[in-house]
């Protein structure tokens, strides 16, 4: 049997662990996953890490590797999609209609709007793009609390530190401490995409098959159970 090593964005752990169990059951091949920040993983692949497959949380780091030819361009595909939602703490459960120019600033009031750091964390970058597109960025810019990652942003909301936050749908639905009060329109931000590719150094013949499996219908149910959408 064959063993492959997957470098994947940390937020995929729950879903990917299940998919990999399925893959092993079906093929007898084991997939070992190293979960970390996309940035770290990308740099590691660049430095010659023994990864066969890389799944990034955004296109930017996959592009980075594509530029330095550390992935097989032909194997690259968009694996998963996600949605950006506005979550409220337990005392802010009323639905919010997210549209052009909606009054987010008043909603947040004296508090903070928690989201991923807008310059570095993918969810933060998407959130900033959406707020700009909706014309509310300048009114809330000073109220942004940029977290290290989506989970931390979510924590700020669920702990009541911040009244509202912008996070991925996948994270929000699993947290009983917060409620999704609105979903950002798909067109308000660049598509949220988790791209996948085989690394240039991979010598594993199973890598391509793995990607095929992970994009199959069998895996789709597992991803969707976590709130992801499988991109075709």
């Amino acid at each position: 049997e064959d063993k492959i090593t997957v470098f994947a964005a940390a937020s995929l752990k729950n879903a990917l662990d299940m998919v990999n169990a399925e893959w092993q059951k079906e093929t007898g091949n084991e997939a070992i996953v190293s979960y970390a920040a996309s940035s770290a993983l990308a740099k590691q692949v660049e430095a010659g890490a023994p990864a066969d497959v890389f799944i990034s949380a955004d296109q930017a780091w996959m592009d980075y590797l594509a530029e330095s030819r550390r992935i097989r361009q032909d194997s690259r595909a968009n694996l998963l999609g996600n949605q950006l939602v506005l979550v409220g703490a337990s005392d802010n459960m009323a639905a919010v209609n997210i549209r052009q120019g909606f009054d987010l600033a008043t909603l947040v009031g004296d508090g903070k709007l928690a989201m991923g750091a807008v310059d570095s964390v993918p969810a933060g970058k998407y959130g900033k793009a959406a707020l700009e597109k909706l014309g509310v960025w300048s009114s809330v810019e000073a109220k942004i609390a940029g977290a290290e990652n989506v989970r931390a942003a979510l924590l700020l909301v669920s702990r009541g530190e911040a009244p509202y936050g912008i996070v991925y749908r996948t994270d929000a639905i699993a947290d009983p401490g917060v409620r999704i009060v609105g979903t950002f329109p798909e067109d308000s931000h660049p598509a949220i995409v988790y791209p996948i590719a085989v690394t240039a150094d991979s010598k594993s013949p199973a890598a391509a098959a793995y990607i095929a499996f992970i994009r199959s219908d069998a895996a789709a149910a597992l991803f969707e159970a976590q709130g992801f959408t499988l991109l075709k």
């Binding site: 920040a37 940035s39 990308a42 930017a60 780091w61 592009d63 980075y64 903070k112 928690a114 750091a117 310059d119 570095s120 964390v121 942004i144 609390a145 940029g146 977290a147 290290e148 931390a152 924590l155 700020l156 702990r159 009541g160 530190e161």
Partner: protein
């Protein structure tokens, strides 16, 4: 050398880091000395629990420490709400919170240094002072404290350096708000998270190193002066 020019936001982060690190170092000093005394000299039940608690920030991944800080010192946390109600001290999303996080992360390092120094103090000197009429507090202030200055300085510089480098617990606890909680480390981290951010990260890293080296050298000089006066008789 264009990439070496610092933006306003970066200057802000530098100033903030200096403030946060200095405050963290100075505020934790008295606590560090007190706890080090307790651990070096005290004999009480639960000493190893205190010792363990002190080391906790070292043992736990910084994210977990940040998480615990949020639980305790957040707006809704038991200590956080108490502090806000009684003395009006708000920590969450404030630079004060960043200072707290840094102080706590550096605390085990500070305590260890001071404790080692205390354990090296010749207790016979303290005895001599007591026969001359100095009560325990005076003995501490006039004999023990001056003799542990080198250790206290070592502890302070470790705490300061750690505060300059700390970011996991800080960002988890107080987020990454430019001008309020975005320290140099957080800014460096931000650069590392975007493709092509290397130059920026490098620039700020150099700044951080320069500051810390300067602090380090000052500390060495001070410790040297203190030690020269205290050489063994």
């Amino acid at each position: 050398m264009d990439w070496l020019v610092l933006s306003d936001a970066e200057w802000t982060a530098i100033r903030l880091s200096l403030r946060v690190s200095s405050v963290a170092m100075l505020v934790s000093l008295p606590f560090g000395i007190a706890v080090a005394m307790l651990l070096a000299r005290g004999r009480f039940w639960g000493k190893s629990i205190v010792n363990g608690l002190v080391h906790l920030p070292l043992i736990l991944p910084p994210v977990v420490t940040g998480y615990l800080l949020l639980m305790l010192f957040g707006r809704r946390g038991p200590i956080g709400s108490f502090l806000e109600e009684t003395i009006g001290l708000v920590l969450s999303f404030r630079w004060t919170g960043a200072a707290l996080a840094c102080a706590i992360m550096g605390f085990p390092l500070m305590v260890r240094s001071i404790r080692l120094s205390i354990e090296a103090v010749d207790r016979k000197l303290e005895q001599a002072a007591s026969t001359l009429g100095a009560g325990p507090i005076w003995v501490f202030l006039t004999i023990t404290l001056p003799l542990i200055i080198p250790g206290a300085i070592a502890g302070m510089i470790l705490s300061f350096a750690k505060a300059m480098g700390e970011f996991g617990a800080t960002i988890t606890f107080v987020s990454n708000i430019p001008g309020e909680t975005q320290t140099l480390s957080a800014a460096i981290y931000t650069f590392t998270q975007v493709p092509g951010g290397d130059a920026g990260a490098m620039r700020l890293t150099i700044v951080s190193i320069v500051i810390s080296m300067a602090a380090l050298m000052v500390s060495e000089v001070l410790a040297g002066m203190a030690a020269r006066r205290v050489e063994r008789t």
